[in-house]
Amino acid sequence: MTTVESHDGKRLLEQLGASDYGKPPLGCMQCGLCAATCPLGPAMELPPRKLILYAAAGNLEPVLSSPALWMCVACYACSKRCPRGIELTEGLWPALRDAAMQAGIQPPAELQETFQNVLKYGNVLGKSPRQRLDWTKGLDVRVLDLSREPRPVDVLWLVGCYPSYYPRNQVVARAFARILTELGVSWGILGARERSPGECDRMFGEEGLFETLVEQNRELFDKQDFGKLVVLDPHAFRALQSFYPRFGAWYPVQHYTMFLAEHLEQLRPLIVRPVEAVVTYHDNCCVGRRCGCYDPPRELLQLIPGVKLVEMARNRDDSLCCGGGGGGMWLDAHIVAHGGQRLSDERVRQAAASGADTLAVSCPYELSRFEDAAKVTGLEERLKVRDIIELLAESMELGERSVS
């Protein structure tokens, strides 16, 4: 990313133009499509359009000190639509945040704590690496820890921070382990050595920390002999797919929905039990809007007998973000304090309005965000939030009794 040596906003935008993050912001025509598209735009003192306007005028001070700078949740809606093709999400926002931090402006405290956790412990939750394997306790399939027993595998599964540590997500991790085993795939994990790929750190302008994580992970991956990386976290997918190669770290990687959709024919005979549910699918931003990958998750859901798939009014390109990306997971307090809403609350209302009784997700952050949102909005009784993996596992009779 661009290193900013001065507070000259025009120069910052020029530097961004010279980098390979989309078209340069200098070509902005101030149409405001980004501002009105941004789900948090109305709450931003300086929505993206004005960030560019001020910066282009050379006036970076109000930009860097604006609370708006810490409100982007990296949903890609503005980048996707920008008529001038400007890459705001991966280009402008991280560069401005980097510039702010270099200018001594502190990001919200919760976020700083997360950065510290990643740096110290290799995970966003600040848990001990030794507990990384806790989710496998009592699991009825064999989990190969490649950091202890290196051997060639087809799939190196990066379990991810939330599925490793967070009880609600551990259920999903266990289900995925059973599905992989049932499919007969050779797979392994990195056990206690696994570290966060650093996806949100990059998006948050913590370029230094991100580079450190790329190096650490590269060292880990290079010791292993695997066909591809498979991840549960869409943000990790994006980081490995498009940020790591910028540092020369190329690894074939798939989000689990892509991986499983490639195995539809192998899955089909294993799907035995109907799951009676009206399901709506929430497109996560990184696999969906960022990569245009909308069909695989739906193909997986339609594989399950009994599932009736309905769409929310806003889907695919127009899907509303859960608010958890790009560090957003730790920004709710900051966003609400500055007049923004929790996007997950709005999204569960939209899910309920679609007539669904189940909101299917494919991102570890969304599970807890939407379950919380369902409680807050009083929709808890009407709307279950389940990962696609859980629905598949249930239909394959691989689910856990506690979550059927």
Binding site: M29, A35, A36, D317
Partner: protein, 665 residues
């Protein structure tokens, strides 16, 4: 090998071109060098060779010193080869015994070091001298030009071009794909900025086309193939069956009343599907020709073979119906073609956040033109889907234009037609109108004044690109009712939600869906965005890369009616200048077959891109038609026995030139 022909007397002329050449190349030294070259009888340098005294110098020397070859070291042969060829001819020398050495563009302008420049110039000049020694006299060849033109596309561009050509007394064949001429202009209600009724100014021209004795009108027809080249195109036209004999139909339209379908039930494409038609129909009342067309997909007689044929009964003794009519191909010979195939209106359904096709009261501008038009499906009443009159109307500019995701270019006309629609909507409904724009582009005669007028009429202008259209609160996605436009009002600096009950999308003008196919048929090029490419953006705006094929109107780029008409007249004038010349000189560099060597293998025949070679089956040889040959050299390179040769590009000429180039480096 240098020829030993002692009769050769080559004259060399080095041009200073003011200081253009002489400033870099030592012209005196170059002249001295030339004097030492084989067969050079005389070498001179002069300030401006292309001037009259310069040319006179050449002429006088030819006569006085018996020169029989001329080399001019000057600018590109593109500029003055013809000048010196003519000068030589005036002095009695065959014009093809002249060779140009380009020492300006290829030497003086691209070389800094004087010594280096002199060496390069020597090498070029030496090559030209060696080459010209091998030149032989050639005859100039001319072909007759067919004094007739074809205009493809019957919108306002094609109509205008055809009328101009016809009024000049030339025969014109006007080909139109749809059942009627008129194009997009016939769909519009009013035209900006004067608010002229579109039909009132267009239909007289349409009628003039119909009545003009010099215009042969082929509607419901498309160009299938184009053969030949400038001056002599042979064009096949596919004529779709109307199932009605145009020569017998009087346009009474009684067949439409008589049709077995008592009610119209099929979408009328001319009305953008908002109106309905019967299987026998006419796009609009003033259609030219005023002849209905039968839709074979839904006509009971054609589709199922049984119908009481009320249409035929209504037609009566005029007896114009022909249910057995077949598609047929007609061939026309023309000297020039004007391509005026127009544009396609962008389909906004691909922009998901505008909800076109999802929310019934989101319309395209073209649909609203039809609603406003007295001849349209609502007889000119602007109504919502439920028949009620809109009270608040949003007009969104730049839909599909100025957007890297769709078309990066500005469509030029949308701002003005959006202003016109704003005016008409207010005039007809008194609705509150919001025009959401990025920039207002009102650069044209009377445009800014019209913008100002519309502002003063109370239309609200919101500077910002609308980000979302959603149903108003409390209404489902398929609601018939209100909509909300979410937009960053960039001048107010706040994000607004504007309630409206109708949204009009000012859609882009894009190339026709089959533009690429048309481009290939006519041998022309497209620019990156897909519009047909003119030969030069400033100096040859209606010519194309294919001589004799001209372009006019929105097929060349988005433009309004005045610009289209001006361009159509320009194309007609160019076509006229061409076909009125009577004959056209062929390039001399055509291929020919050395008959004694040709084995009749026909390799060249299949390779020739211009169908210029045919087989003489009796003599078992290939024969080149110089009128069709473009001098591409493909046959020359491919001929296995070396029988295919090319004037001015003989093996000995090329190898001498190369040797000359190498020897004097």
């Amino acid at each position: 090998m240098i020829t030993s022909d002692e009769t050769l007397r080559i004259g060399v002329y080095v041009c200073h071109c003011g200081s253009n050449i002489a400033g870099t190349v030592d012209v005196e030294a170059l002249t001295k060098f030339a004097e030492g070259l084989p067969h050079v009888a005389l070498a001179r340098h002069y300030k401006y060779m292309c001037s009259d005294p310069g040319q006179e110098l050449v002429k006088r020397d030819i006569v006085e010193f018996g020169l029989n070859r001329i080399v001019v070291a000057a600018c590109s042969p593109n500029l003055h080869e013809a000048t010196f060829r003519r000068a030589a001819e005036d002095a009695g020398l065959n014009r093809f015994l002249v060779q140009i050495a380009n020492i300006r563009e290829q030497v003086a302008w691209v070389t800094e070091d004087r010594q280096e420049a002199l060496e390069k110039a020597e090498s070029h000049l030496g090559a030209a001298v060696r080459r010209v020694a091998r030149h032989v006299p050639l005859q100039r060849q001319f072909v007759r030009i067919v004094p007739r033109a074809m205009v493809v596309g019957g919108g306002i561009a094609g109509i205008q071009a055809a009328l101009t050509l016809a009024e000049a007394g030339r025969e014109v064949i006007l080909v139109e794909r749809e059942p009627s001429i008129g194009g997009h202009m016939a769909m519009f209600d009013k035209t900006f900025p004067t608010l002229d009724c579109a039909a009132c100014i267009l239909t007289p021209k349409m009628t003039a086309v119909k009545l003009h004795p010099n215009i042969k009108l082929l509607t419901y027809s498309t160009v299938e193939s184009v053969e030949g080249s400038v001056g002599n195109f042979r064009i096949k036209v596919k004529r779709k069956p109307r199932y009605i004999d145009e020569s017998l139909c009087v346009g009474c339209m009684q067949c439409i009343d008589g049709c077995a379908f008592t009610r119209a039930k099929f979408p009328n494409a001319f009305d953008q599907g908002l109106g309905l038609r019967k299987p026998v129909w006419i796009p609009f009342p003033q259609a030219v020709p005023p002849v209905p067309v039968v839709d074979p997909e839904v006509c009971l007689q054609i589709a199922r073979g049984k119908c009481k044929q009320g249409c035929v009964e209504a037609c009566g003794e005029r007896n114009a119906f022909r249910f057995d009519q077949q598609e047929r191909i007609e061939e026309y010979e023309v000297g020039a073609v004007v391509v005026a195939t127009g544009f396609h209106a962008f389909d906004p359904s691909v922009i998901s956040y505008y909800g076109y096709g999802k929310y019934p009261n989101v319309y395209t501008s073209l649909e609203v033109e039809r609603l406003l038009n007295a001849g349209g499906p609502t007889s000119g009443k602007l109504v919502l889907r439920d028949g009620s009159t809109p009270k608040r109307v949003g007009i969104i500019h730049c839909v599909g234009s100025r957007d890297a995701n769709y078309h990066a270019y500005c469509s030029r006309v949308c701002c003005m037609y959006a202003l016109k629609l704003a005016h008409l909507v207010r005039e007809k409904t008194e609705a509150e109108v919001y025009n959401c724009y990025i920039d207002i582009r009102a650069a044209g005669k009377g445009f800014e004044e019209f913008y100002n007028r519309v502002q003063n009429e109370g239309v609200q202008f919101v500077r910002g690109k609308v980000a979302d259209i959603t149903p108003a609160a409390g209404q489902g996605t398929s609601a018939e009712g209100g909509l909300v436009m979410k937009v960053d009002d960039t001048l107010l600096g706040s994000i607004r939600e504007i309630n409206v009950d109708m949204v009009i999308l000012a859609v882009a003008l894009e190339p026709q869906a089959d533009a690429n196919q048309v481009r290939r048929t006519f041998g022309i090029s497209c620019s990156a965005e897909g519009f047909f490419l003119e030969k030069h953006p400033k100096l040859a705006p209606v010519n194309t890369a294919n001589d004799g094929v001209l372009v006019a109107g929105a097929c060349q780029g988005a433009k309004d009616i005045p610009d289209t008409v001006a361009q159509a007249d320009a194309a007609a004038a160019k076509a006229l200048a061409l076909i009125d010349a009577g004959q056209i000189e062929l390039e001399p560099n055509t291929a020919w077959i050395e008959e004694d060597i040709c084995s009749g293998c026909k390799t060249c025949i299949n390779l020739c891109p211009y169908q210029a070679i045919r087989a003489d089956e009796e003599r078992k040889i290939a024969v080149v038609d110089p009128a069709l040959c473009k001098g591409c050299g493909t046959c020359v390179a491919a001929c296995p026995s070396g029988a295919a040769r090319q004037h001015l590009f003989g093996d000995e000429q090329i190898s001498e030139e190369l040797e000359g180039l190498m020897n004097y480096v």
